[in-house]
Amino acid sequence: MNFWQKLLAVDRRVIFALVAVAVIIPFFLSFPIKITVSPPVQAVYDYIEKLPPGSLVMISCDYDPPSAPELQPMTETMLKHFFLKDLKVIILGLWPQGSVQANIALEVVMRDPILKAKNLKYGVDYVNLGFTAGNEFVIIRMGTDIHAAFPVDFNGTKIAELPLMQNVRNFDNIAFVFNVSAGYPGTYEWVIFGVDRYRFKLGAGNTAVQAPLVSPYVQSGQLIGLLGGMRGGAEYEEVSHYFGKATGFMRSQTFSHAVVIFFIIVGNLAYFMTRGKRT
């Protein structure tokens, strides 16, 4: 086997090792990176900026731990944006671990000194409705009666007893819904069973793999905007200036993409150098 043939048959563990190095090394570096904000991300930011203080917003965390490294940063940034704009936040999850992930995000966000100073109260400024089984049927039920879909909150308290939820029966009073989604049920269900029926305003954050599936809805106007993957989270941090983990993780993503492209180039080079010999 010559050099090029050996390259074509390289053990995949060599590739894995180089990818690992590409992902880990940037954690020890801190160089500035340039993030250009794309129009779908800008659209979400602009819409939230226009909401008057006191408006009700909803965030549905439809993901679990595997997708959390990619989606948790955008959940944290979005919650921060909501609280800094003095919006009232209703949190829920259509996935069992979604509302737990939301609590984890809240813990991080509430450490911010500005938010600490606001002295936000659970039940008045924000609530976590927890999880209800039923996937898209939960969205349909919320459109008629949220109290029927979520009779108790994450802690087991009747939501009718929470001041924030007393005048909230359905989507009518909710100014904006943001869905953070890793699969099913997710943004697709929120668009088809939520926006199309009840006509509320919806923005979404998806994993990079799911984002292409959902991007047609931005074009059709069913979604106000879309944050796609880690890049979308980093763009939102850039536009809102609430810098968090996503911007830092983009360094690793940059290096790892470069490694993959390097291997693609090398692989094609080896392919062309050995093609004559094979035919």
């Binding site: 995949r12 679990d64 997708s67 029966r169 099913y184 199309d196 994993t207 793999v209």
Partner: protein, 377 residues
Amino acid sequence: MKKILAFSFLALSLSPAFSQVPAPATQVQAFDTPNDAGRSITIEWQISIDDKDGVVTGYQVLRTEAPEGEYTKIADSPRGTDSYIDSSPENHKDYYYKVRAVTASGFSDSEPSTAVQAMGQWFNRKRLNALIAVLIISGAILYFIEKARSGKELYIRKIAGIEAVEEAVGRATEMGRKIVFIPGIQDMDNMQTIAGITILGHVARKAAEYEAKLEVPVSRALVMVACREVTKQAFTASGRPDAYKDDMVYYVTDDQFGYTAALDGLFVREKPAAIFMQGAFFAESLILAETGNYIGAIQIAGTAQPSQLPFFVAACDYTLIGEELFAASAYLSKDVKLLGSLKGQDVGKFFMMAAILVGVILASLGVYDLSRLFTVR
């Protein structure tokens, strides 16, 4: 001085900002909210002329059940709004509405609406377009099923992934290694799972005929029950009921990556010769497909998750793309009725292509937005 003060006060009190009573909202209309289950009345009105100047701070919606009865407030609406949906009335009962324009220091009521009753509708007219589409497509499918039954030869193109099923099962038998069938990670309410299970039936029959070992690890308990039934029937139909064991089909976990870890472990330890991944998959698709590729198994995948198709195409030997997964059952069984339904699907596709072409032309000329006809509420 007193005269000046009095005159100033009079002038101020006449100015809109300090007027006690705003101009009322007008043309209040209340009607039963259409296309719903009832218990909903929509109230619309023309906003007060003082709304534009910022005098009116908001509106209150008032309701009574008797025309001369006392009106009670049922809702507040911010200024600028001209409609409200009352979701609390009882069906088949008369209600009357008024709209009260409110300022900081006064209010004025509109004329009352005429009597209105809430009621449910028997047909949601907003979905007429969906009904027509369903009738056209279903009609086409049923027509071609009937035509196929009458003996007409139907041409169906080759689907490489399905042709390779026998090859894969044969390979597993020759190598003395297992066949692993994964029916996706969703439950029985997902059509892809049902499509995967129908393919399992055919694969299980082939495995029974070839005396190959079959293993079906599943992610949902209900899917386990269905897969067991299908596999058992397949072995029985092949004349090998004794070869079927319940433990061929077993539950692993509902957790996506717990299931993936278990399958990866199975692949690396047992090194199956053939892996079928037919159903709904998400992020685990590439992990499974790459591991299968690494151990050298022949892999036939099929999914209707567009986001996972590229991973299967890149890592598997054969991939059933989207609707090919649903066509597989018809293809494998060669049942004329099932083949006829595929032809009906093609009519639906032709109808969509024609609509896209016409819509693009009309939109490019700025004549009409055809997408409005296809919006389902």
